[in-house]
């Protein structure tokens, strides 16, 4: 609709004028009436004053005239008074109320009251001859009258002026109102309206058709209403957007605050501007201590200048590569953080801050360390396996050697058997023959000299005495040798009887001794052996397997000593258990190696020298015997292996004492 030029008839000025003028007319009439009334009132007062002014002029004369009751003089004085325009009538009352004299127009007796006393003036006349100091006697009451004609005459002129002035004022007001109304109200309102209309608020509602003519205010109101609609919608949209934003903001800030990541905003000067709560949680430091923390633990590794320089050419949001940082929390725990720096640009391009982000990767780090270690261990195990494979081949060789040895032993065993029995028979025979020879000797006295000499000579030749003595020694030695061979064979058989699964009560000491026999030749140059054997019962065991264990102990001890050493073998019984101890004064075992001793393939010995299976196999055997093996070692001072074995095996049926034949052939 056209807003630029509202016709004068619809102009706000005119409308306002209509309303204002109505009010103005009422006000003007009221004011004019008031002025007129005021004028009338003051005129009345003026007239009253003018009437009153006549009193002193005539008082003395009147007083004298009345005193002397000189009616002529009184009349003439009254006439004189009437020449005054303001006074229309005069009346003189006697003290008793009767009229002494009167002149001019008198008000009717009824209307006398209607006339306000402002239009009349009363005064009293006193005895003029009264001596000074005495109260004079009142002799008469004089009333000057005036009437409305005088008043109207007085007021008429000023009333006309008043009316004219009111008319002129109204006319001027009217024209000024229209002029300034248009100038100060209509045109600014029109401008305002067009400005309001042109406000760039979107979703402008379709212009409603305006049929009736409007004044500027209505047009403005119309435009403002339109704007209000627009504003409402815009406001609603803003509200929605704001709600979304604030909820987003809440989510974001919650996310930041509850995130386990440490976030910190750092100024270029190194001042910590913001620190997320996770900082305190993760480091244990207060927010106040953040500056110190960063200075000591972060900027030492990532100097601020360098970080800034690196980020200088990056865009905000581009983060530096994640770098690892090891920190120490307030409580002293080590932690690993994955740290990134990025630029945060605020406002002008010149001011940028740094965003420090860190995630706790301690768990991952530890895991990877463990993995690495496991990896290394696995590599080692693989090495060991490779070794072990060689060893196995070796041990297979050995095993077959053992079988060979067992076979040989078995073959030797039989001849040794009868050699042993023969030699024992032979010894008996020799004893008997010796006995025989001794009885012959006792008979020598009785022999001829010759015969006796012959015998003597022969005895001398063969050194009979020596032989006679030595033959027993020889026999003993032979039997000893046979016994030893028997033993060796027996040991060989015993040792190689692997796969034996039968428990029987055996003498541990015997086992120990046979094992010692097997390896002693090798060890005797290195080790002094001390036996501290206690009383041991026979225990339920597979002795050949235990012998393997003992052998291992002995060999390891031999390896452990450098140059010369001592090995003490102690045995004792303790309750239902027996204990066999091997204590050497060798190099000892590093503490960290102790847990690994019984692992298969654990060895400290150079490749080819040891397989690392010895203790592992031993532990397996002991475990099978429901026993245990313990190690105590001080590096540099020696080691002590204690083997505990139960006297009885639970599953065992055979009663003690029913010992099995040891030297039974293997096959």
């Amino acid at each position: 609709m056209e807003t630029g030029n509202t016709p004068v008839t619809y102009s706000i000025g005119l409308k306002l004028l209509k309303h204002v003028f109505g009010m103005y007319c009422i006000a003007a009439i009221c004011i004019t009436l008031f002025q007129a009334w005021d004028d009338y009132d003051s005129s009345k007062n003026r007239i009253a004053l003018r009437i009153a002014e006549q009193q002193p002029l005539v008082q003395d004369g009147l007083e004298n005239a009345v005193w002397h009751l000189d009616s002529e003089l009184v009349d003439s004085l009254l006439k004189g008074l009437l020449t005054q325009a303001a006074i229309t009538g005069v009346r003189v009352y006697d003290v008793d109320g009767s009229v002494l004299a009167e002149s001019g127009q008198m008000p009717q007796s009824g209307s006398e009251h209607r006339l306000s006393n402002q239009l009349q003036h009363n005064f009293s006349l006193y005895d003029p001859n009264t001596e000074a100091g005495l109260s004079a006697d009142k002799i008469a009451e004089v009333v000057f009258y005036s009437n409305n004609d005088v008043l109207i005459r007085e007021v008429k002129g000023s009333l006309i002026v008043l009316l004219l002035a009111a008319l002129v004022k109204t006319a001027i007001l009217w024209s000024l109102f229209i002029y300034f109304g248009r100038k100060l109200l209509s045109s600014p309102l029109n401008v305002l309206t067009s400005k309001v209309k042109s406000l760039p608020l979107d979703k402008s509602p379709e212009n409603q058709a305006v049929t009736r003519p409007m004044n500027e205010l209505e047009i403005l109101e119309f435009a403002i209403e339109e704007m209000q609609h627009k504003l409402d919608e815009t406001l609603q949209q803003l509200h929605n957007a704001n709600d979304k934003l604030s909820s987003m903001n809440t989510h974001l800030s919650r996310a930041v605050e509850q995130s386990p990541s440490i976030s910190a905003i750092i100024s270029h000067a190194g001042e910590i501007i913001y620190c997320s709560p996770s900082f305190e949680l993760q480091t244990g430091y207060d927010k106040d201590q953040a500056g110190t923390f960063f200075a000591r633990q972060v900027f030492t590794k990532f100097p601020l200048e360098q970080v800034s320089r690196d980020l200088n050419h990056s865009h905000p949001g581009d983060a530096s590569d994640a770098r690892e940082l090891q920190i120490r929390t307030l409580s002293g725990t080590k932690r690993f953080l994955s740290v990134t720096f990025s630029r945060v640009q605020i406002g002008s391009a010149s001011v940028t801050n740094l965003l420090f982000t860190a995630n706790d990767i301690t768990a991952i780090k530890l895991m990877s360390q463990r993995l690495e270690k496991t990896n290394q261990e696995q590599e080692k195990i693989i090495d060991q396996l490779v070794n072990a494979k060689g060893m196995l081949l070796e041990s297979e060789k050995m095993a077959s050697l053992g079988q060979l040895a067992a076979g040989v032993a078995h073959e030797i065993n039989n001849p040794i058997g009868y050699i042993a029995s023969n030699s024992s028979a032979l010894q008996d025979y020799v004893k008997e023959l010796t006995l025989l020879l001794d009885s012959y000797q006792s008979l020598e006295e009785e022999l001829s000299e010759q015969a006796a000499d012959q015998i003597r000579t022969l005895k001398q030749q063969i050194d009979y005495d020596f032989i006679r003595n030595d033959i027993h020694n020889l026999m003993d030695d032979t039997r000893e040798g046979i016994r030893r061979i028997t033993d060796i064979v027996k040991d060989l058989l015993t040792y190689s009887r692997s796969g034996e699964k039968e428990y029987c009560y055996q003498d541990i000491h015997q086992g120990l001794e046979s094992t010692l026999n097997m390896v002693w030749n090798e060890l005797k140059y290195k080790l002094d052996l001390k036996r501290e054997y206690g009383d041991l019962p026979e225990i339920s065991c597979m002795i050949s397997q235990l012998n393997q264990v003992f052998m291992n102990m002995l060999v390891n001890a031999g390896h452990a000593v450098e140059g010369n050493g001592t090995l003490v073998i102690r045995t004792r019984q303790q309750g239902d258990e027996v204990c066999i101890q091997f204590a050497d004064d060798g190099v000892g075992i590093e503490p960290e190696n102790i847990p690994k001793l019984f692992d298969p393939f654990f060895t400290t010995k150079p490749v080819g020298s040891g397989t690392g299976l010895g203790l592992s196999v031993s532990a397996g055997i002991i475990k099978e015997h429901n026993g245990r093996i313990e190690v105590a070692s001080t590096p540099g001072q020696g080691s002590c292996f204690s083997i505990w074995l139960p006297v009885h095996q639970v599953r065992e049926n055979a009663p003690p004492g029913s010992r099995e034949i040891v030297d039974e052939p293997v096959s």
Binding site: N64, W67, H68, L69, D70, L73, D127, N129, E131, A132, I139
Partner: protein
């Protein structure tokens, strides 16, 4: 005691009785010397004093100087002779008057009269413009200074005929001065008044030679004290004071 008490009480009442003395008004329209010389002074006041003394303070005499019309108004019922029917004021006396001076309009004289002295009124003129008074006609064609409200026997008819020009004044002395200043040709004043001025008024005394006092008096009359007829007690008092008054009046004869 009781016998003594009543006489004592009576004595007390008697002693306090002067405070309730009856007030008697001395009405007088003779407001000029020698009757009134200054406010509160003159023969009238002295008369009041004498009478008061004479009554032994039984009466309090108060002087009221008032114009003749007023006096007439005050005692109009006495003048009209109506006081037998109406209750009229009886607390007054009027000195220096004559029964023929218009106080009796009723059928009879209802006053008591006490003669004081014989007085007269003389015609005064300037010595340069002498009036040889032989009677009222002598004043024809003259300007006459009268007293306001006074009636002049024999002269008033001539005035109303236009033969004499009468100019009224308020005061006797004014009229006398009008003569001295030749404003008027003649005036009539009581002889006692003239004598008073000639004796006590310095200005008039200085010019006494310029005044011509007629030998023929305008009027010869006795001055009385007029009393209501109901007050013989007052008349008795006035009579008792006769000597004192006579002595007083001698001074102004």
């Amino acid at each position: 005691m009781r016998r003594l008490f009543t006489p004592l009480l009576l004595l007390l009442i008697a002693v306090s009785s002067p405070s309730v003395a009856e007030t008697i008004y001395i009405y007088s329209y003779h407001n000029h010397p020698p009757f009134v010389t200054k406010p509160g002074q003159g023969l009238t006041y002295k008369l009041a004093d004498i009478l008061r003394q004479q009554s032994g303070n039984q009466f309090d005499f108060k002087v009221k100087i008032l114009p003749r019309p007023r006096l007439n108004a005050k005692i109009k019922h006495w003048i009209a002779g109506q006081c037998e029917k109406q209750s009229c004021a009886q607390d007054w006396l009027v000195p220096w008057v004559n029964p023929r001076w218009g106080f009796i309009k009723g059928p009879r004289d209802n006053y008591l009269w006490h003669e004081l002295y014989a007085g007269s009124s003389s015609v005064l003129s300037h010595i340069d413009n002498p009036v040889d008074y032989q009677g009222p006609d002598s004043l024809q064609g003259k300007t006459f200074a009268g007293m306001r409200g006074h009636r002049y026997l024999g002269i008033d008819p001539l005035v109303s005929e236009g033969k004499i020009r009468r100019l009224d004044g308020n005061k006797e002395r004014d009229n006398l001065m009008k003569i001295l200043m030749k404003r008027v040709d003649a005036t009539i004043l009581p002889t006692s008044t003239i004598n008073y001025f000639l004796r006590y008024d310095a200005v008039i005394k200085a010019e006494s030679e310029k005044l011509l006092i007629s030998d023929i008096k305008h009027q010869q009359f006795s001055r009385y004290i007029m009393l209501p007829e109901t007050r013989p007690d007052l008349l008795r008092l006035v009579t008792q004071a006769k000597q004192s008054t006579a002595k007083l009046l001698d001074a102004y004869r």
